[in-house]
């Protein structure tokens, strides 16, 4: 692999390879000394044009646990503030001999733009606009596979603001490539246009959308959606689409609940569900740990093996 830009354009073979590698590397995280020399002498730069704590920290730890140099660029303090274009910023990082740039940007497609521009540096998409967030998709799949033992045939309901969600898109492509069945559930104002042309089933009714689901992946509801008039109130949204012990009864009895975080407790997910009360299986912290593992696997795939490994 040269870049990780999307799961839509990543093959099932590569996805399986990344998940298997993550499963293997996860063992390192359980050690008292969490450090292996695998990526010594390699440099990863995180370039985040949007605020993020958990994803950036996760990448940074993943790099450090594998002995790579990890440098964070806080965009607010960088030359962007002086009006530098994305193109020039990227060329500069390449000239600084970064082996890998992990980028997050509010505009969809910027990682593709970077990958086309840079000839010597790998790009990892850490979330672009409402397009994709492939390592989140991978960590969700790793968590599902770990707990459910398989991906093939799993019924996965993604609930919430699908229209603006890069997590949803990476889940859709990754899961369907691995043989899972995906449903999108949300109010019509938060479903993307022509959603029915995606390889999914679309529901605007939570009871129907959750019916028999093995996994419920709950998306964060951005409160600014309300300001744009896409929702009447958080209260009503919570009543119609909130995941609570009551609404989870529609799903399969042992349904697994995931959330990419950060959560709005009491809005898209009730506190009881988030905390795994009443025998509910929520794996939200496990997702965070698995996040480090899939990012280690990604960095290993891009920087750890000889550059012509894709043959």
């Amino acid at each position: 692999m040269r870049h990780l830009l999307t799961l839509r354009e990543t093959s099932a073979i590569d996805i399986r390879y990344l998940l298997d590698t993550a499963e293997t590397l996860k063992e390192i995280l359980a050690r008292p000394v969490k450090k292996v020399p695998t990526l010594r002498g390699r440099a990863m730069i995180t370039l985040f044009y949007e605020n993020s704590t958990r994803t950036r920290t996760s990448f940074e730890l993943a790099a450090k646990f594998m002995s790579a140099e990890a440098i964070n660029i806080a965009v607010a303090q960088s030359s962007v503030a002086k009006g530098e274009s994305l193109k020039d910023s990227l060329l500069t990082l390449q000239a600084l001999k970064a082996d890998c740039i992990v980028m997050r940007h509010s505009v969809s497609g910027t990682p593709e733009f970077a990958a086309e521009l840079l000839k010597h540096t790998s790009i990892v998409n850490a979330g672009d606009g409402r397009h994709e967030h492939p390592t989140q998709g991978l960590l969700d799949m790793l968590t599902m596979r770990e707990i459910k033992g398989r991906l093939e045939g799993l019924e996965v309901a993604i609930v919430g603001d699908i229209a603006h969600s890069r997590v949803a898109r990476s889940n859709i492509w990754g899961l369907t490539k691995m043989g899972a069945k995906v449903r999108l559930v949300g109010p019509r104002t938060l479903l993307p246009p022509d959603a029915d042309r995606l390889p999914v089933k679309v529901y605007d009714n939570l009871a129907k959308g959750l019916d028999g689901a093995d996994v419920v992946n709950v998306l964060r509801l951005q409160t600014e959606r309300m300001e744009r008039g896409l929702l009447p109130s958080l209260r009503e949204y919570s009543r119609l689409f909130g995941i609570s012990p009551q609404s989870l009864k529609y799903a399969a009895p042992d349904a697994l609940v995931l959330h990419p975080g950060p959560m709005n407790r009491g809005v898209e997910i009730s506190a009881d569900v988030a905390d795994g009360k009443f025998g509910i299986h929520a794996a939200i912290e496990e997702q965070v740990t698995n996040g480090i593992a899939v990012r280690m696997a990604t960095l290993y795939a891009l920087m750890g093996v000889s550059s012509d490994s894709e043959g």
Binding site: R8, S85, L86, K87, H105, V107, S108, G109, T110, E112, F113, E116, D128, G129, R130, H131, E132, R166, R169, P192, P193, D194, A195, R197, L198
Partner: protein, 426 residues
């Protein structure tokens, strides 16, 4: 000064003329269409055997960027691009800096054209001051200085009240109003057509209904005011149908389409190609077919380009941040010939009519404009219908290179033009 273009096939749709003949030009006017080999003394002769001689092409929708954005294009480079595409006359949109909202700017453009232009230029005046959508411009002054029409292109009027007042003034002054039809409340920060491709790419969408609603409103206001409404760059099946019905109802409304709106769909935006980003955006195959049907049945009157140059560095950015617009002048005729004439959607004469005397009439140029009638201005295009070539962004006359047609194989090319009897060869 006499010029004879001899041996060519003369096609002049306005006169229903299509025959092998020699075209005689004298003192900047068409002086005669002669039987081949008619002896003519004392003249410059150009052998155009095997070529087609038509009225110079006319594009009533281009952005020449001067004054204010000369790094994208200027009147010299823009009219050179026009000449390279077979155009002898263009109408330029008012979103310059300063905008074409005063007589002084109109006069400046006409003066620059006089100095450096290789095609004729007619400025189009802004509907509101600085194109802000508020106070209406001094349209009588604009017209007196030489503005050919009024438009809100690039800054579509949102207030129906403002459209109504502008239309009342246009009707009083006998000026057409050229509208960019877009309900901004529905398009927001949209950057491409709303639909499956945008959903897949995660790009905010521009719904088709945003155009249709604005078209319906503008048609109703044209009916109320009696203003001649001309719909710019039609991109949706809905607009074609609204225009068809309005014409059937006898409302004074016309329309135009650009090649990209029937040749390309929103799939051209895959890979976040900013050269496929324009407004209105590339739509769906259904819309392309509706536009072609509208051209074929006469609903859509004119073929235009919306030539909108942008510097390379402006397009080499994040998709959402890239400016809207693509080049058009140098690819319009080849695309029209290849995708409409060769495919049988339009016959050759109709295609030429939609690029010559019909746009001239639509925008209110004097009778005879866009024809080869005796006494008309000697504006001529000489076209080669045989040459197959590949569109190459590196070899354009425009200052900019933003074309989504780079690498496309087309047939047909302008060889040279004649403007007022003067041969323009690049």
């Amino acid at each position: 000064m006499r010029l004879l273009l001899h041996g060519g096939r003369i096609v002049d749709p306005a006169q229903n003329l299509d025959k092998i003949a020699d075209l005689l030009i004298e003192d900047g006017k068409i002086a005669g269409i002669l039987e081949p080999n008619t002896p003519v003394a004392d003249c410059e002769r150009r052998d155009v055997t095997g070529k087609v001689v038509t009225p110079g092409l006319i594009d009533i929708h281009v952005h020449l960027r001067e004054p204010g954005f000369e790094y994208k294009e200027d009147i010299e480079s823009g009219t050179r691009a026009a000449a390279a595409g077979g155009f002898t006359r263009v109408c330029c949109m008012p979103n310059t800096n300063p905008a074409i909202d005063t007589a002084a700017v109109v006069r400046f453009i006409l003066e620059r054209t006089e100095q450096v232009g290789v095609a004729r230029v007619h400025p189009i005046g802004a509907a509101t001051r600085d194109m802000q959508g508020d106070a209406i411009t001094e349209m009588a002054d604009l017209k007196a200085a030489g503005a050919i029409a009024i438009s809100d292109d690039a800054f579509p009027l949102q207030s129906a009240e403002t459209v109504r007042r502008v239309m009342e003034y246009c009707a009083m002054l006998n000026l057409p109003l050229l509208t960019h039809n877009e309900d901004k409340a529905l398009t927001h920060k949209g950057a491409m057509n709303e639909g499956y491709t945008a959903t897949m790419l995660g790009i905010p969408g521009i719904p088709r209904v945003a155009e249709d609603i604005a078209v319906a409103r503008n048609i109703l206001l044209a009916q109320l005011t009696g203003c001649h409404l001309h719909l710019l760059h039609i991109s949706t099946a809905g607009t074609v149908e609204l225009l068809r019905r309005a014409k059937a109802d006898g409302i004074n409304v016309t329309g135009e389409a650009c090649p990209h709106h029937w040749v390309l769909t929103d799939e051209a935006c895959m890979k976040y190609r900013t050269d496929a980003k324009m407004n209105p955006p590339l739509r769906t195959q259904e819309d392309c077919e509706a536009v072609m049907q509208g051209l074929a049945d006469g609903t859509i009157d004119c073929i235009v380009t919306d030539h909108a140059p942008h510097a390379e560095y402006e397009k080499e950015v994040e998709f959402d941040s890239a400016p809207f617009g693509i080049l058009g002048l140098e690819t319009s005729f080849p695309l029209t010939y290849t995708t409409l004439v060769k495919t049988g959607v339009l016959d050759f004469a109709t295609a030429i009519a939609k690029m010559t005397h019909i746009p001239a009439q639509t925008i209110g140029l004097p009778p005879g404009t866009g024809t080869l009638e005796i006494g008309a201005e000697a504006d001529v295009a000489v076209l080669d219908l045989e040459t197959e070539w590949t569109i190459d962004r590196e070899s354009v006359q425009s200052k900019s290179k933003n074309t989504p047609f780079h690498g496309m194989k087309v047939q047909g090319k302008a060889v040279f033009t004649v403007v007022g009897g003067r041969v323009i060869e690049l």
